[in-house]
Amino acid sequence: MSGQRIWIRGGTVVCPASGFEGPGVVEIVGDTIAAVHPGTGPSNTPGRVIDADGAVVAPGFVDLHAHLGEPGDEYKEDLETAGQAAVRGGFTSVCASPDTHPVNDSRAFTEYLVRRGAATAAARILPIGALTVGCEGKRLTEMYDLCAAGAVALGDGQRSVADAGLFRRAMEYAKAVGVPVFEFPEDASLSLGGVMHEGRVSTQLGLRGVPCAAEDVVVHRAIELVRHTGARVHLGPISTHGAVMAVKRAKEQGLPLTCAVAAAQLHLLDASIAESWSPHLHVRPPLRSESHREALRVGLQEGVIDAVTSNHRPQGAVDKEVPFARAEPGMSGLQTTLGLVLRLVEQGILSLSDAVARLAVGPADVLGMAAGRLTAGAKADVVVFDPSVKVRVESAVLASRSKNTPFLGQALPGRVLATLVGGRVAYGEDDEVKL
């Protein structure tokens, strides 16, 4: 081990993977964590000190579902702006959804993303390769090649493979490649034209609904095909009570199934759409009603839901300054996810340790990666945040190129003080925040 030595002192270390929670010092050498010392640790040590007094020191967060705009939608986002938003939100690794323009369905494309990510993004960019060519659900991609180039999982972005037979073969093949299959749980024929949760509010507003069955049908199909193929499948983001119940049963049966929920989904309800008609509330999966939100919260508490995701899908102003149904779905989420999860901690729904687990080790385990841990030998991906400070969500503090979030103007708990990616301070003391 060589390289710069950094000591993160004075904070409360929270590492759900190792079970360490309490005062501690994280010692970093180069790009690796050398040790986590309980208490105040050794004194008079050489190296740089990051003062985390009163703050939480946690493993860097891993985001499973994010659309990073590049290539094709650079006016919404690119890897550089997304990377900045990520590290300001505490994320050190961000999966890049493959449904860009063009789609990430080839080795050359994945290599390009890895190269561009390393050159321009402050966070690690983890490409998701397409499961089918063009995400069209017709032909399998060259999965070995995609993964050799750096794809960490395979999926079709916000599309589910309609053909169950092809989906089965894709799962079998991906299993041999050794990566999880990401399935977006929405049956396109059932959600046809839908722009919000189907129920009382969609009926009142005359907006076309997406029934829960559109999600539940895909979840149940995935479960039976996991049972049949033994392949690892990750569902996400999920939004329904039915999905939580089905995943819970499947997990009890020992099936290799995981799922994620979008942070905003744990707070917002479809009823808000009736109050404002705000196109910022047009997201996929759609915001649902109270009973679904409750089921998602319980699922998160119980660990049925492995990960909270930003479901970052920034949209330009022109994509949102239109009537609700016509707006492009999605919100900018990388910088509000931590705050929304900490709000659940404030509300007594999650412990701090569980909150960190769902943001770090949970998603890392979905990918089968060693990230999300503060243990000797692990990559030094670390976030330092103060959960007691509230930060107002304003355009000026959002690093994403797109500022479309329904949380604008709200104060969310949790100020990120520093984010280290591979031992390098990607955000923090050299920026506006003085440590």
Partner: protein, 307 residues
Amino acid sequence: MIGARRHLLELASMTADEIEQLLDLADTFSDISRRPIKKVPTLRGRTIVNLFMEPSTRTRSSFELAAKRLSADTLNISGGSSSVVKGETLLDTARNLAAYRPDIIVLRHKDAGAPHLLSRHVDASIVNAGDGAHEHPTQGLLDMLTIRQHCKGIAGRKVAIIGDIAHSRVARSGIVGLAKLGAEVVVCGPPTMLPAEIETLGCVATSDRTQAVTDADVVMMLRIQKERLKEELFPSDREYSRIFGLNRTALALAKPDCLVMHPGPINRGVELEPDVADGPQSVILDQVANGLAVRMAVLYYCAGGAA
């Protein structure tokens, strides 16, 4: 000033009192159209833009005539002829029109919530002339006015609304408006055309035409447009008319003086048999006449007149 203007966006957020006041106002305006000189100077010098982004004949002509009878200056813009076909967004179109400083913009749009969007971004009173499958408040008002005139009040009357409830803005405005005024509303159609939890709007839902029509004071038929549906919701016009259409036999179950209404245009022989449409119980042309009075009342109200 944006947001401080008086708009008519939907009936859902209006109180029963406000609705009654608008109906009273419409009653007084209906006299004007019976005079030899059918014009009053009430809105002289005011500018009203009729922005119709979706095809419409009767609603557009009704709004235009209403404005003219109130002596307002009107500017009519329709989707097919405007720069919308050149790719201009709704907001850009509206902002450009707003530069002429109109007092009122009457908007018909295929997207639900479009008038609400305009009301937040454009400094003019916005009148919703139909937004997607959401609401058509002036249609709701003219239907209520027609019922009130013929049935001596609305409270306690049984009103059956039959047809494609899911895709109908006429149905939504009708249900919420009538329910606020105390009517007993029953909606009826094939299950594929009854949207989720429709009863929470204040009505009873059924797919049994007999249940809907029996002892009704009013039967309101909605237009069926199979060719415009995105998906298969019923097998054929033939079966639809037999099971859900209104013919003389079905109408016989209603009260003897039951009103037959239709927002038009009618698909004769599909949802409504010609002999019923043209029969003595039909008040379809009264609806058209009342539409003019209601729109005069709404323009007057939105231009700042007391209701």
